[in-house]
């Protein structure tokens, strides 16, 4: 296990340097950017001085801008993720167990519909319907209402209800379908028969043996798809005007502050790599077969 962690950590470090190089190449070959530094200098600035650029508009280092926006993005992503798990796991598992029934069909068609909706469109519809300022049924705080957790926990929670719903539904739609597939496969496995032959209760067979394997299979993918999940968060922030990292990037582009966008992209990508490493290790803990390979 520790050899596996070391291996994955080494790979993550290579990835960090690599994305820096790719970022450097992509951003300096593009017009509108002044590529005056060399890559070694760029690398040194980033890894030794944590210098991800300077925002001329905000008169701040990009790093501190991003760090300042981090709590909002984290609040959105973690809350939506929890909601997605709470929806996707039971739905995916039940749809698989009741394969071919109307529950399965309705759930999976709804999921297909939602995952085919751009999350920003879903967000705008939620705002149009429920936002307290402009909505037809004004019950939840609308756009631009985000308040930090430490400033006012109550307002923090209510301001995030609609964004959580939009992003959480989108993620739940994707992952419930994946889970259903994995669950169907898991329930066909020999170990399910063994569990039944041991006289375990049906709940224990389904959740303790089938669902555990199905979830483990999907977690492996979540680690690889973190970039996609963060993309969804960027769009949600923009639709709801939540001043997180995504909105920072959007706002910077709108004001031609390219240094800020590029620093933000690089930092976000590095965050994806680091969180990916954590997910990998968690997955290895769930499924010890990976670290043996």
């Amino acid at each position: 296990m520790s050899a596996y962690i070391a291996r994955r950590a080494g790979r993550a470090i290579v990835l960090l340097v690599l994305v820096t190089l790719l970022g450097f190449l992509l951003f300096t070959v593009l017009p509108g950017v002044h590529g005056s530094t060399s890559f070694p200098d760029y690398l040194k600035a980033i890894f030794l001085h944590f210098n991800f650029g300077y925002s001329g508009r905000d008169h701040q280092p990009v790093l501190s801008l991003v760090v300042g926006r981090l709590p909002a993005t984290l609040s959105l992503v973690v809350g939506a993720g929890l909601l997605a798990v709470a929806l996707a796991v039971p739905l995916g598992v039940l749809a698989a167990l009741r394969r071919g029934t109307s529950l399965d069909r309705v759930a999976m068609r709804t999921a297909l519909g939602i995952l085919s909706m751009p999350v920003f469109w879903l967000g705008l519809i939620l705002l149009y319907l429920f936002a307290s300022d402009i909505g037809k049924i004004p019950i939840f705080p609308g756009a631009n209402s985000y308040v930090g957790l430490t400033a006012d926990p109550g307002k923090w929670f209510t301001s995030l209800i609609l964004p959580w719903l939009a992003l959480g539904a989108a993620e739940a739609a994707i992952y419930s379908r994946l889970l259903r597939g994995r669950m169907l496969a898991a329930m066909d496995e020999d170990y399910i028969r063994t569990a039944r032959a041991k006289g375990l209760s049906e709940e224990r067979v389904v959740w303790g043996h089938g669902a555990v394997a199905a979830v483990a299979g999907v977690v492996a993918v979540v680690g690889l798809d973190l970039g996609g999940l963060l993309s969804g968060a960027v769009l949600t922030e923009t639709a709801f005007r939540i001043h997180g990292i995504g909105f920072l990037g959007y706002d910077a582009v709108a004001h031609a502050d390219f240094a800020t966008v590029q620093g933000t992209v690089l930092l976000a990508t590095m965050a994806v790599i680091v969180v990916g490493l954590i997910v990998d290790v968690g997955f290895a803990w769930l499924d010890p077969r990976v670290s043996a390979a």
């Binding site: 170990y191 569990a195 032959a197 394997a213």
Partner: protein, 356 residues
């Protein structure tokens, strides 16, 4: 023979599929006494595994029809509800299978899987169950059980993995163990060890074993009685010694002759049984074995033979339309190494003579 522990009476299992009804098990009967081992032999698709899983209710489903009785401990398992079966399964009746890498859960240590089986039926503490699990791992011959109790299935070599699988089955000291080809896919030396272990456990724990296999060779080493299955039916049932010395069904001969190197049976080169196994949806008319039987006569395409006691020998039954005397002469001819065409001719002549 003492009172049977398990008595299967006219068991039938049929599955509805999109292609038609599969008659997987078609009216089989057998009995096993405590401490005895019944071997069930047949090709894959003969119905052994389905019949064994049906004992534990594992084949039940909306598209399955189950008939007959499974008498065990004074009750009929076939008519027992889900809940009742759950109390028996893994407690007094246990299952162990081949391919433990897929039959054991990949995400739990083997010890946890034994502990889970214990705690599903006994209200014992985790610590006590763990102690018992370690004891069981030791019982099945896993070295260093204190360490191995926390090993995952993929971390064990195949032989130890199969032993762990057996330990899971033994968790609650079952009276009946259903062993579904536990030596399949193992090296020959490991096979021998697993067979010796099962034989020893059966004896020491007074456990009855129903041992299913495709390999007549392994059955010789463990079974007291052997049932040969073909196309969902038992075609020959005999005490083990009897079956190997005086087999009476052409399919059994085929199985014996397909074993590698058994000079005492007059077979130098293994001779495979010709032809494909029959479809269980569209079964052959008459004797199900006739399309592959070298000695089949015209009438065998129409008449369906029943399992009947064989002449002279107690406990030996066979389902074959050839007269007993003819079968005896053919087997003697096979043992003497006569070639097949001459034996086929002999069968034809003898049958005609017998009829006239």
């Amino acid at each position: 023979m003492s009172e049977p522990l398990l008595s299967v009476e006219g068991l039938r299992v049929a599955f509805e599929t999109d292609h038609g009804v599969v008659h997987a098990v078609d009216g089989i009967s057998y009995a096993v006494a405590p401490g005895r081992t019944l071997g069930i032999v047949g090709e894959s698709g003969a119905g052994k595994t389905v019949s064994a899983r049906t004992l534990l209710g594992l084949t039940r489903g909306p598209r399955t029809q189950i008939g007959g009785r499974i008498m065990f401990g004074g009750g009929d398992l076939a008519s027992l509800g889900e809940e009742g079966l759950r109390h028996l399964a893994g407690d007094v009746v246990a299952l162990t299978t081949h391919d433990p890498l897929s039959a054991l859960h990949p995400l739990y240590p083997v010890g946890a899987q034994v502990i889970e089986a214990i705690r599903a039926h006994r209200a014992v503490s985790k610590a006590a169950a763990r102690d018992r699990a370690i004891g069981l791992l030791e019982l099945v011959g896993i070295p260093d059980p204190h360490r191995r109790v926390d090993a995952y299935p993929h971390e064990l070599p195949p032989g130890l993995r199969q032993r762990a699988m057996i330990a899971v089955a033994l968790a609650n000291g079952p009276k009946l163990l259903i062993a579904d080809d536990p030596t399949r896919g193992l090296d020959v030396t490991v096979q021998a060890q697993i067979l010796a272990l099962l034989a020893d456990l059966g004896e020491r724990l007074g456990m009855a074993i129903v041992y299913l296999t495709r390999d007549l060779g392994t059955v010789a080493e463990i079974a007291d009685e052997v049932a040969v299955m073909y196309a969902g039916r038992i075609v020959e049932l005999a005490p083990a010694g009897q079956l190997f010395l005086a087999p009476q069904h052409p399919y059994t001969w085929g199985l014996l002759r397909s074993l590698p190197r058994l000079p005492e049976f007059g077979v130098e080169q293994p001779v495979p049984i010709s032809g494909p196994p029959p479809s269980l949806i569209q079964r052959p008319q008459g004797c199900h074995f006739h399309p592959r039987c070298p000695y089949a006569q015209d009438s065998h395409r129409r008449i369906d033979p029943q399992l009947r006691p064989a002449e002279g020998e107690e406990g030996h039954s066979v389902a074959c339309l050839l007269p007993a005397s003819v079968r005896r002469q053919i087997w003697q001819g096979l043992e003497a190494g006569h070639d097949l065409p001459s034996l086929q001719q002999l069968a034809g002549v003898l049958v005609r003579e017998g009829r006239s």
